[in-house]
């Protein structure tokens, strides 16, 4: 299994949509074959269309607010006393997280295909919030599927979704989290694919959704590359890119432009959700060596029992609380291009405390996982090492959890 150079990773799958011959694919009911094929044709055409790219870039710049900041965390760097710690503040983006890129592109595609309704899943509520924003912007009706447990713990985003006139459909089946929301959203699409477009909220699902999402979030690394060159004159000799990994959309987007660099120069570190320190449950299939299985239309490493039933996950972070992982990351793991590890709930909370103590930055619980590992590893690194953490979401949505776990001071 090998990565190819000079070909975007999203286009390295085989004709059945498998990366490395075994990750991804299209394990979908027959009814979805046609809409998926239609979407593939449309996307393959448009991603080569200069006018479409210009349109995308215009929305990214004027509406989303590209580029997001790239800042040095001076105080934190000084406090840690190792590598230089920087952050790409993707939470600057309109709506407060990276999910806006994928949502915008899906709405642009939906418009082109003549669909009037768009449906999407959400865990932390960001994918739903952004899809509702984009749908409103582009005049599409919007339905958001969200686990009942997530609705409870991510209220600020739920309110935002409703404010954008989108319908929030609570999902009560299974663990009542992201995995069930994605299933229910796919079911809705099965029944309504003639009138409705579907947006999968991360680099998961049937291959076309992995590709569209990866293509969209790659905006993050396109910006970062320019910013690094502006700041350092060239891509630093020792660059380490830390990102949390749930489905894997922000991390893939954060790394994509650096794919062809040698990993000795530019290392990718993905941080999964290890769950509560005392619990056996986690959302870290790559770190803990989960077996390959099929979830939501794609072959991937996934938490499951011996029989093949998908296992329930547990994490303080709704956005990382997913038993599977993008086929792209499975491929990056097996080719050893990226390294994956996990942070526990407690470690993420401690990182949040530390970052907010030293910096004017409030990473949500998802990037707090990445900060945790970045801080720990930075201590042992030389001063000329450039550590960049993608702060891909803002903690406003987590205020209820932060209040409960850390007290008023941290909200």
């Amino acid at each position: 299994m090998k990565l190819k150079k000079k070909i975007p990773l999203i286009d390295q799958g085989n004709r059945f949509g498998f990366w490395g011959g075994k990750f991804g694919g299209n394990f979908v009911p027959e009814t979805l074959k046609k809409p998926i094929e239609d979407l593939e044709i449309l996307f393959n055409k448009l991603k080569r269309d200069k006018k479409f790219i210009a349109e995308r870039d215009r929305y990214f710049k004027n509406w989303i607010g590209a580029p997001t900041r790239f800042i040095k965390l001076e105080n934190l760097t000084q406090h840690i006393g190792g590598a230089q710690i920087w952050s790409k503040v993707v939470s600057d983006a309109n709506g407060g997280a990276h999910k806006i890129y994928n949502a915008t592109v899906h709405c642009l595609l939906a418009k082109r295909s003549g669909k009037k309704i768009i449906c999407g899943d959400t865990g932390a509520g960001y994918a739903g919030k952004m899809l509702s924003m984009a749908a409103k912007k582009f005049g599409l009706k919007c339905k958001i599927f969200m686990g009942a447990k997530d609705i409870e713990r991510q209220q600020p985003n739920v309110k935002a979704i409703k404010k954008n006139d989108a319908e929030v459909i609570p999902v009560y089946s299974g663990s009542q989290t992201l995995v069930d929301a994605v299933s229910e959203c796919m079911r809705f699409w099965v029944a309504n694919c003639d009138t409705t477009a579907m947006c999968v909220g991360s680099t998961v699902g049937p291959a076309i959704f992995v590709r569209i999402c990866g293509w969209s979030t790659s905006q993050i690394s396109r910006e970062l590359k320019v910013q690094l060159i502006e700041e350092f004159g060239s891509i630093p000799k020792k660059l380490k890119l830390y990102n949390c990994v749930g489905g894997g959309s922000s991390s893939f987007g954060f790394w994509n432009e650096f794919m062809d660099y040698d990993k000795k120069q530019c290392e990718f570190i993905g941080v999964e959700a290890g769950g509560p320190a005392k619990s056996k449950k986690h959302a870290a299939p790559l770190t803990y060596g989960s077996k390959i299985g099929i979830l939501h239309g794609a072959a991937q490493y996934v938490n499951q029992n011996l029989e093949g039933q998908i296992e329930e996950t547990e994490s303080i972070s709704a956005g990382l609380d997913y038993p599977g992982i993008s086929p792209l990351h499975c491929f990056l793991k097996d080719t050893k291009r990226a390294r994956y590890t996990a942070a526990s709930d407690e470690e993420a909370l401690n990182a949040y405390k530390l970052v907010t103590k030293y910096e004017k930055l409030r990473p949500s619980l998802e990037p707090s996982h990445a900060f945790s590992v970045a801080i720990k590893e930075s201590k042992k690194m030389s001063k000329n090492t450039i550590v960049v953490v993608n702060s891909c979401g803002d903690a406003y949505k987590d205020k209820k959890i932060l209040m409960k776990r850390l007290g008023k001071k941290y909200v």
Binding site: K33, G174, D180, A191, G308
Partner: protein, 266 residues
């Protein structure tokens, strides 16, 4: 290849009616009870589909989901499902069994081992909801070697060209999904429209049996009786759920329902 599924269709044709196919979830509400239900409905149904419950079923509506979660909660395992089939096939009035489920369950069990086991216990056909054509080509061949039918699903969204190719590669039975829906949806298309789509499929290869499923209930079954076979699933799963709720015996209630369904198509 010889397959008892063909005989079931022949028998129904002789009686000038469509074959009646039922769907129940293995292990719903328990291992033993699902076996008893199969035995009880054998008298009326021609082919029995037995669902392999999975906990992230992307094509199933709420009724089958409820049945599946109930079976999983009660601890049903793959080996139990094979046990149910094996026991059932000892019944001298047994009908052909089709296992229906999602690919991950087969993938984890191992394709080869799974098919060997199916053959051994007497499974006649398989429906793998999320392994469509052409991805299922190699699995289809493996099934054929064991004389097990892999039943291809066809949908209103399947293009003409694709229909031709799928039917060419298919075994002697195919399954037409009546409308854009998960299982158990309300019939939102007129029976006339469904039958006209069905006939288009039938024309491609009249020798291959085509059954219609999704949204078929006691109310609608009669209007589709020109088909080779009709599948009722969610309505039966619902009957089990309702019986449990009312503390009634699911076995008698389900048997009565299947009997009524049969009478509608005679």
């Amino acid at each position: 290849m010889f397959n008892p599924i063909d005989l079931a269709f022949q028998k129904a044709k002789k009686e000038n009616r469509p074959a009646l196919l039922t769907y129940t979830v293995a292990g719903d509400s328990s291992k033993n009870q699902s076996l008893i239900i199969l035995n009880a409905i054998s008298k009326y149904a021609d082919i029995l589909e037995l669902g392999v419950p999975h906990n992230t079923p992307v094509a199933d509506g709420s009724q089958i989901q409820t049945s599946s979660y109930r079976a999983i909660k009660n601890g049903i395992k793959m080996e139990d499902i094979f046990w149910i089939v094996k026991k059932y096939k000892k019944n001298k009035n047994s009908k052909p069994i089709i296992l229906m489920g999602y690919y991950n369950m087969i993938f984890q069990y191992g394709e080869r081992k799974f098919l060997e086991k199916c053959k051994k216990v007497g499974v006649s056909g398989l429906i793998v909801v999320d392994l469509p054509w052409p991805e299922n080509k190699s699995f289809t061949k493996k099934c054929k070697k064991k004389s097990i039918y892999l039943i291809q699903l066809l949908s209103p969204t399947t293009s003409k060209e694709r229909l031709n190719k799928i039917i060419k590669d298919s075994h002697a039975m195919n399954y037409f999904i009546s409308m854009l829906s998960t299982t158990g949806g309300k019939l939102k298309v007129s029976p006339r429209k469904i039958m006209s789509n069905y006939l288009k499929i039938k024309k491609i290869n009249p020798k291959k049996n085509v059954v219609i499923g999704f949204g078929i209930t006691e109310k609608s079954i009669k209007s589709l009786k020109k088909a080779d076979g009709l599948v009722v699933g969610s309505a039966i799963c619902k009957e089990i759920s309702v019986s449990i709720q009312k503390s009634q015996n699911p076995v008698t209630n389900v048997a009565n329902l299947v009997k009524k369904l049969k009478n509608k198509i005679l």
